[in-house]
Symmetry: C2
Subunit: 222 residues, 2 copies
Amino acid sequence: MARTEHRRAGRPRQTVLNRERIAGAALAVVDDRGDFTLPEVARRLGVQTASLYHHVDGRAGVVELLRERIGELMDTAPLDGSSWDLALSGYFRSYRAVFAAHPRVVPLLTTSTVTEPRVIAAYERVVVLLEEAGVQRRDVMTIVTAMENFIIGSALDLAAPDVMWEVPEGVDAPRLAAALTAQPAGDGRADRAFEFGMQTFLAMIRRLSEPGDASKEAQHRS
Amino acid sequence: MARTEHRRAGRPRQTVLNRERIAGAALAVVDDRGDFTLPEVARRLGVQTASLYHHVDGRAGVVELLRERIGELMDTAPLDGSSWDLALSGYFRSYRAVFAAHPRVVPLLTTSTVTEPRVIAAYERVVVLLEEAGVQRRDVMTIVTAMENFIIGSALDLAAPDVMWEVPEGVDAPRLAAALTAQPAGDGRADRAFEFGMQTFLAMIRRLSEPGDASKEAQHRS
C-alpha cells in the first residue's frame, strides 16, 4: 500500500482532460510556434496523443476548438445594440483586439470553413444588422468578407513598429518624408488607420442603402 | 595531384554567394516554415552561417532582403500611369497577388521598419498619387496604412476555402444561410470582396477631395 501511494505521488497530477483544456493548450502552442501538431498539444497537457481523440476529431477538430476559443474572447455584447453602426464597430473593435493578441492563429482560422455554432451565431447577428442598414442580401457576405479582411490586416498591423517607414540617408523620397512628418501626433498610427478604415466601410454601407430612400438618407445624415 | 583533384570533385559545387541567392533561400525557408533562422538559410545554400555575414547584417538584414525580393515581385509599372485611381488599383492588385503567393512572409515584413530603397521609391509614388487625388498631406499615411491592412487581409483570404461559412445541421441561422445562398455565382468570393473593398477606399479618397472644390467633384463624377 505504501508503494502504491508512492507511485501515485510520482505521477503527474491527473486533471480531467476536456475540450476547454485542449483549446487552451493548442492556443498556447500556436502563440509560441505559429502552428501546432497533436503530439505537441498532448505534450503540453502531459497526456498521450491518443487521449485527445476521445475529445476532438483530429487536427480539424482542434482548429474548430481554436475558433470557438477565439470567438469566446470576442465581445459580442455590442451586436445586441439597436444602432447597426455602433453595433458593428463595437464588435469589430473587439475582433481586431483578439486577433492582435493572437496573430499567429489567423492563418489557421482563415484557411478552414467556419461551422462552430457560437461563431455562426455572431455572423447571423452581423447579417441581420447589415440588412437592417439597408444592404441588399446578395451583397451582405461580400461586405462581411471585405470588412474582415481589413480587420485582420489591422490586427497584424498592431504588432508593427510605431515608425513603419524611414527614408534612409541618400534615398530621395521627399513627398513620403513630408507625409511622414505631417502625420498627426497623439494616438497611435495603427489605431488611426483602423478607425479611418472602419468609418470608410460604415460610410459606404450608409451610401449603399441611400438611393431611392430619402427618409433613410436623411436619417443617416442627421 | 590526383589526390587534390579527387578532393575537389567531392566538394559541393561552389557557386558565388550573394544577396540575391540569400534572399531566394530565405524566402523558400519562410514559405516552408513560416519563419527562418540564419543557420537554416545557410544550410539551404550549403554554406556556413558565418559566410552569410559577409553579405547581410544578421537577421534584420535578411528581413530587409526579403522585403526587397517581395518588392521586386510586385508590378510597380501601374504606378507610372497618369490616372491616380487606375495606378493605385493596378499596383495594389499586384501587391495582393504577391502576398497571396507568400502569405507566411507577411508577419516578418509587417513587424519591422521599411527602409529598403526600392520599396521606399514605390511608397514615394503612392504618396504623390494620393496627393494628386486631393488627399491632405496629414491624412496620406493613414490612408496608405488602412489600404495596406485591407490588402494584406485580402491576400490571406485568397488562401481561404471558397465555402467559408457553413451552417451546420441543427444550428439556427436563417439570415446567414439566406445571405450565403444569395451570393452571386461566377468569380470567386475572395476576388469579389477584394474588388469591393478596393473600390470602397477609392470612392472615399474621391470624396475626401471633394468639399469646396466643385470642379474636382464634377471631374470625378463624370
